[in-house]
Symmetry: C2
């Protein structure tokens, strides 16, 4: 690339990374708001979450468009190319996190019963805190290009899976104890699954940070402990 | 582009589209096999589905790499650029369909009880047939660049949502009738949700076909009838 092209590329790339960071902030906010709406059963807040998802989708399309244009115009190579591709991948994961938050918000509308199992609510809050911490750390690692920090996120996903597994069993148990709990618990099962999947997207972003910096994928299969697909809860006699 | 570049671009694009079509075939196969494994409770087949998902993921990475390289090397414009971006988008949706099939396969391992509600099984089969028909049609529309065909797929997603809604209510009812059904029905709820989401990805692909050919997004919000997030089932007295 010529001196001029390098400078133009750098400016465009910075702008792209800035947009991705903005999108990351929005996604974090959506998670917090969706869970707050869920716990307080705040329908108005849930509706705001659903509405704001459109902005996240629009940002993703904008990042895609801009990224593709940079590749076509500047023909970046090696790490420069990975930077642009990385921005596209991260924005893709953030868009999916936004979708998951929206899905949780949708369910808030129906959770109007009186059943509020405190232990489960605390579990959901705890899991959300873990996911938010993971997302915050991975977005920091993205902005700083800090691979060690990213790998830590990638490794820590197991803790989220563990909370989800115990929530899953707990919810099934409540359902078995009293059929009046079934509708509520089913919706919470889906919410918990959505939060767990947000965690997966945080680890995807960690993988992208590794790819940008190192130019190759992470070596091993990520430790995976979401066992809810395999869960069985014995009936209490 | 020069004569030579145009020819090189055409060859590379054809190769890319061929890969996407190959990936589409794999995704269709994974859906069929995952549901067959689910209905026959065939653990060995479920494990094959989980293993093959790696191939789909690899194909997606390959398509992404090749697509990006084409953009950087050939600097395509207008419809040519949309063709390449479209291939990336479609392969992204196919990868997610593969993931959803894998998620269903994971649950097969635990479905070993004796409870087999025929009506629900038939519902799952019916929903799968609808999704497979949608996916087949949208892949055809992609290969032929047939927007009318794509729009039809986009419109028909409502039928899948309708089946999912009635399955959801049915499963909740079985759970309320007998707590021994709860674990099984919960897994089926997640499977049904996964199938419904495959349908969403088929409509995403339809939107991409429209974007490639017309150069803009589809005009209105897609009709959406997945109401399971809002479902409540009254207790039988």
């Amino acid at each position: 690339m010529s001196e001029h092209t390098i400078k133009a590329f750098d400016t465009e790339l910075q702008e792209l990374v800035r947009k991705v960071a903005e999108m990351g902030g929005l996604a974090e906010r959506q998670i917090t708001d969706a869970i707050a709406a869920l716990i307080k059963r705040d329908t108005a807040q849930a509706e705001r979450v659903m509405a704001i998802d459109t902005n996240i989708d629009a940002l993703q399309r904008e990042i895609e468009e801009k990224g593709i244009l940079i590749i076509a115009r500047r023909q970046p190579m090696a790490v420069d190319l990975r930077e642009v591709v990385g921005a596209l991948r991260v924005s893709n994961d953030l868009e999916r996190i936004g979708d998951l938050a929206k899905n949780i918000a949708k369910r808030v509308v129906v959770l109007d019963g009186e059943f509020r199992p405190n232990k489960v609510i605390r579990g959901v809050e705890h899991m959300t805190d873990l996911v938010l911490a993971q997302l915050k750390q991975v977005l920091d690692s993205y902005v700083r290009r800090d691979v060690a920090m990213a790998i830590e996120v990638w490794r820590n996903d197991e803790a989220i899976d563990a909370v989800n597994n115990s929530l899953f069993r707990e919810l099934l148990t409540y359902m078995m104890e009293d059929p009046r709990n079934i509708t509520f618990c089913t919706h919470l099962l889906f919410c918990a699954k959505n939060i767990e999947r947000m965690g997966d997207h945080a680890t995807n972003i960690a993988e992208t940070v590794h790819y940008i910096v190192e130019g190759r994928s992470l070596p091993d299969e990520r430790p995976k402990s979401d066992l809810t697909s395999f869960a069985r809860v014995p009936l209490r006699k």
